[in-house]
Symmetry: C2
Subunit: 324 residues, 2 copies
């Protein structure tokens, strides 16, 4: 079995070694550029971990792992156009470095390349893998559309929010693991359990991200603390706060929301104070723990050696440890 | 065997009957909208014709046929964004009727839906069909990028132009036929011959389109006669004219090209006169005939009943008949 760092290195090497010789170069250069910007490679790592969980050979899963990472980066390339984002991992986004048309078309061909890699699995699991991948891909698009819809809506319920992050984030983590499991030799039932683990873990991760955006250690959190607040992003914390706020707190919240004149640090501080007074952090943590427990419950039911499950168990359990 | 009209009706009925129940509606409504704008359904018709050529049952090919049409319409949805086109078949394009982000994302999910339909073929041909579809899809993206590159280039050679239209247009027609043949029970070799037929036919069709844009009967030609000339589009005729023009004709051509002040009808007339004096129409017709003959040569080699080949032979031979 490999450590996470070893798996990351294997994936980064495979990505570095990939040369797109097809023409025109304008179509393929942005793919190499974006893929080589780095990142934690979480999704492909999960593919490989899931293969090893069932004693499979990761060399048989590497194409699919890279395919998942290509798909993920394709969605980033298109999302960045939609969000008009100037930077991705500190570098210019593709639509800024090249142009919007190139980012659309290069993304499209990236999606084809992702399918090409998924197709390389054995005949015996080809249909299953493609069904999961297609379901997953459609889910990610649905989640992105729901997320965009939320921006212009006044009210979003917690249930709608959970469904959105399930589609936008959790489904791809879950699908990555299910595909990795099948390549590793797991039967349908075992692979479905790993999907369940991944989906719940994904939900917990996103909730943790919402919490860290406000309460994270600026030195450890990769993004700007308070970024969601400044963007008026409808996170679990904000939705819950809107739900719980009485008349006075509501008008206070509404004063700050969509207030583009507000001094950033003051806005972050004021909204955080409202969150604190309503106790939404605690509620988010309870919800997160709930998903972690569901994930661990699914993991327990999986018929694999306990030592092989340790890595995944560790992923889940670290979410239960609070930094106060 | 069915007539083309019967096949078009079968396809239109299948499209009309398709309901996308997945949410959010914003993501799926543009798909139904674009798919129901009509068109000749040439690609899915070719899938079904190819299935029947080998005595296959078209009910087994209908999913793949609709998948091909979905893919084609996905490329139109994204191309229309890139071309900033306001209209598609006389109706507002998706990015105009909704917005650009919806057109990007709805197109992406359309591509997933296309793959989902392709995956429905029998296990025995699943990998082959997906390989062809992926190769085809990548080709179409490459062709679109090449076409966009040509817009900003001073010089394009005839060889580059042929390669561009091969990718952008011919490969999808060819792939449609190859997939239809496999579903109909053709072996690899026979299906490859039909691909060859389709690719050459596609090239001939595009060359005919270039010719008709200038010399077509305005009442029969679906688009505005002279549209390519007004758009300074690098067609076979223009590229050949640039190649053949001496000093005098070159400066005359250059006067009209990229001249946005020019009175449209005068520009069309002047450039057509240059084309006539250089005889580029005849050269385009010779090239077109060349591809038709290659197509017919491939068709001849196909091991199917002559009566079943008649429809495809007719497609090809109509291109040899000139309207003067």
């Amino acid at each position: 079995m490999h450590s996470i760092e070893q798996l990351q290195n294997i994936i980064n090497k495979a990505i570095a070694d990939t040369k797109y010789t097809a023409k025109p170069a304008e179509l393929y250069e942005p793919i190499s550029y974006l893929m080589k910007l780095g990142g934690k490679r979480m999704r492909p790592v999960l593919v490989l971990i899931s293969t090893e969980l069932f004693k499979g050979d990761i060399s048989k899963a590497l194409h699919a792992a890279i395919g998942i990472e290509l798909f993920h980066n394709f969605t980033l390339m298109h999302d960045d156009i939609m969000d008009k984002a100037p930077l991705r991992r500190g570098n210019p986004t593709v639509h800024v470095k090249w142009n919007e048309n190139t980012a659309i078309l290069s993304g499209d061909v990236m999606f084809v390349e992702a399918y090409k890699l998924m197709i390389m699995v054995d005949d015996s699991i080809l249909r299953q893998v493609l069904d999961i991948f297609s379901y997953t891909a459609a889910g990610v698009c649905q989640g992105q559309q729901a997320d965009m819809n939320f921006e212009t809506r006044d009210q979003v319920s917690i249930n709608e929010y959970i469904e959105m992050i399930r589609l936008k984030t959790a489904v791809l983590l879950a699908g990555s693991m299910q595909i990795g499991a099948l390549i590793g030799g797991a039967d349908k039932e075992q692979a479905a359990l790993l999907y369940e683990f991944g989906e719940n873990l994904g939900l917990a991760f996103q909730l943790q991200d919402d919490i860290l955006d406000v309460y994270g250690d600026p030195e450890k959190f990769g993004k700007q603390v308070g970024g969601d607040i400044l963007a008026d992003k409808k996170t679990y914390l904000l939705i819950k706060a809107v739900e719980l706020a009485g008349e006075e707190k509501s008008s206070e919240l509404n004063y700050w929301l969509n207030n583009s004149d507000a001094e950033p640090s003051k806005k972050i501080k004021s909204i955080t104070t409202i969150y604190n007074s309503l106790g939404v952090r605690k509620l988010a943590e309870i919800e997160m723990d709930n998903y972690v427990k569901k994930a661990l419950y699914a993991l327990d039911k999986i018929d694999a050696e306990s030592s092989r499950k340790a890595l995944l168990r560790g992923f889940a359990e670290q979410l239960l440890i609070r930094e106060h």
